[in-house]
């Protein structure tokens, strides 16, 4: 393992390369461009077997579907409008049970046009049947890549590795990048049970009549729910091998065990939230943070357990569902619904389109929560 002072995107790209993908199919888009660019240069140097420079993101995902169906370990990279353009093929990848890995540099959706970070691009795709992992920093995003391939291939479901645009994609940090030899020990070769083969022709992604369609969706739902266990197992296995872990693999509890007031969030903003927690703890306030790592499948039981006995909970998210309660908040409400003593749960939407969320801003959130009233607001 080599420690490098490197941009998050480049470390993630190197981790992808060391997972030995057979095919990468990408169309560059801010802020994940550097990942695609780096994969293309790996290909030019003969370090990746195939890189398809597609004409748009729908083609990238379609190329990934074809390559994965033919038995290739497959990866793509995108953000924002690119992911929106992929939409119909994103559902197909999951429905066809193809273990594609998508690296997502999270960015807002138009209009107004904006290239900066929030989570709306991948959160919008939360219902598609893709496992979604959200990372706090470049190190975690780098470590999530070999895990993502292993999870995807173990459960035959596609996985998104989501990391915040600019805050992580472009931040230069010292990052330990697992080497090719190390990843080889962790990630076995991809051997799908079924693949396209001219000697045994088959049509994949066939249509299903009304009598059968729902059976497929039901099966997908059950396998998605069951995959949470595998995400945890593979996270633990990686932690054992590489010495780095991220909570339980589905969520991380930061100084929250004995806390009365807890903030729930995801992604890079949790770095600032941890600093805010430390500052408030130094003053004797019983506050903590629960950082979700897995948005899909949603770890309802783990969230309920993490919130048990808390008096006040605030959910901060960089995502929304216009005309309804924000998505992460809705899930946390549902997770806490059966708790014996339910905490007061507030919703804060913010940080949209790159609006900075500083340590001071997080302190303000804890201040609002302290009032003990249920709030649903954009901050």
């Amino acid at each position: 393992m080599a420690r490098k002072t490197v941009e998050g995107s480049f470390a993630v790209a190197e981790a992808v390369k060391n997972c030995e993908p057979d095919v990468a199919a990408c169309y560059p888009i801010t802020p994940s461009t550097h990942v695609a660019e780096e994969l293309a240069s790996f290909y030019a140097n003969g370090e990746i077997k195939a890189y398809i420079a597609t004409e748009a993101e729908l083609s990238s995902m379609s190329a990934c579907i074809g390559a994965s169906a033919a038995g290739s370990r497959t990866v793509t990279v995108t953000s924002s409008q690119g992911m929106a353009l992929m939409h119909e093929a994103v559902y197909n990848a999951a429905g066809m049970r193809l273990p594609i890995v998508m690296i997502v540099g999270n960015r807002s959706l138009s209009a107004p046009l904006n290239i900066w970070n929030d989570w709306q691009d991948s959160v919008t795709e939360r219902d598609s049947g893709w496992i979604q992992i959200y990372c706090e920093n470049g190190q975690e995003a780098t470590d999530a890549v070999p895990q993502a391939f292993k999870i995807a291939e173990a459960v035959s479901l596609p996985v998104m590795v989501c990391f915040d645009g600019f805050y992580i994609t472009h931040a230069v940090e010292p990052i330990d990048v697992p080497s090719l030899e190390e990843v080889k020990k962790f990630l076995p070769p991809f051997r799908p049970a079924v693949k396209l083969d001219p000697k045994n022709p088959m049509s994949m992604g066939e249509y299903a009549f009304p009598a059968h369609y729902q059976l497929f969706r039901d099966d997908l739902q059950k396998d998605m729910v069951a995959s949470e266990k595998k995400v945890k197992e593979i996270h633990d296995e990686y932690a054992k091998m590489f010495g780095r872990s991220y909570g339980s693999g589905v969520l991380e509890e930061y100084r929250s065990q004995d806390a009365e007031s807890v903030l729930v969030s995801m992604g890079s903003v949790c770095g600032n939230a941890k600093e805010a927690v430390d500052q408030l703890r130094a003053k004797g306030e019983k506050v903590g943070l629960v950082r979700l790592r897995l948005l899909r499948p949603f770890p309802y039981a783990a969230v309920a357990k993490a919130l048990e006995g808390k008096k006040i909970v605030g959910v901060f998210e960089k995502s929304y569902s216009l005309g309804a309660l924000p998505p992460l908040y809705g899930e946390v409400l549902a997770a806490a619904a059966d708790l014996k003593s339910r905490p007061v749960i507030s919703s804060f939407v913010g940080g949209l389109g790159g609006k900075d969320v500083t340590v001071g801003n997080v302190l303000e959130l804890y201040g609002k929560m302290k009032q003990g009233k249920k709030l649903v607001e954009w901050v």
Partner: protein, 90 residues
């Protein structure tokens, strides 16, 4: 795990010609073997004109009624109007 996989090539077994309410009939006395019907047939059910050859060496178009759905595109594009859509009646 359920996979949406099927045996390929099964569309041959589904004779879509039964969907037809009108059948195209070609009057070979008027037909000039231009091949427009073959070119435009969306299925493609019209074959045999051999457009690669000179007009005098070509054959009349053949319609495959097993799969022709009777859309009428051939009749519409025919420059000499030699294809008539005749109602299917039993």
């Amino acid at each position: 795990m359920l996979l949406p996989i099927a045996k390929p090539g099964t569309s041959r077994e589904n004779k879509t010609g039964s969907w037809r309410s009108q059948r195209p009939e070609t009057d070979t006395k008027k037909c000039v073997k231009c091949g427009m019907c073959e070119l435009f047939c969306p299925e493609p059910c019209i074959t045999g004109v051999e457009m690669g050859k000179k007009p005098q060496e070509r054959s009349f178009p053949k319609t495959d009624y097993d799969y022709c759905k009777g859309c009428g595109v051939c009749a519409n594009v025919c420059p000499v109007k030699c294809i008539k859509m005749v109602p299917e009646e039993k």
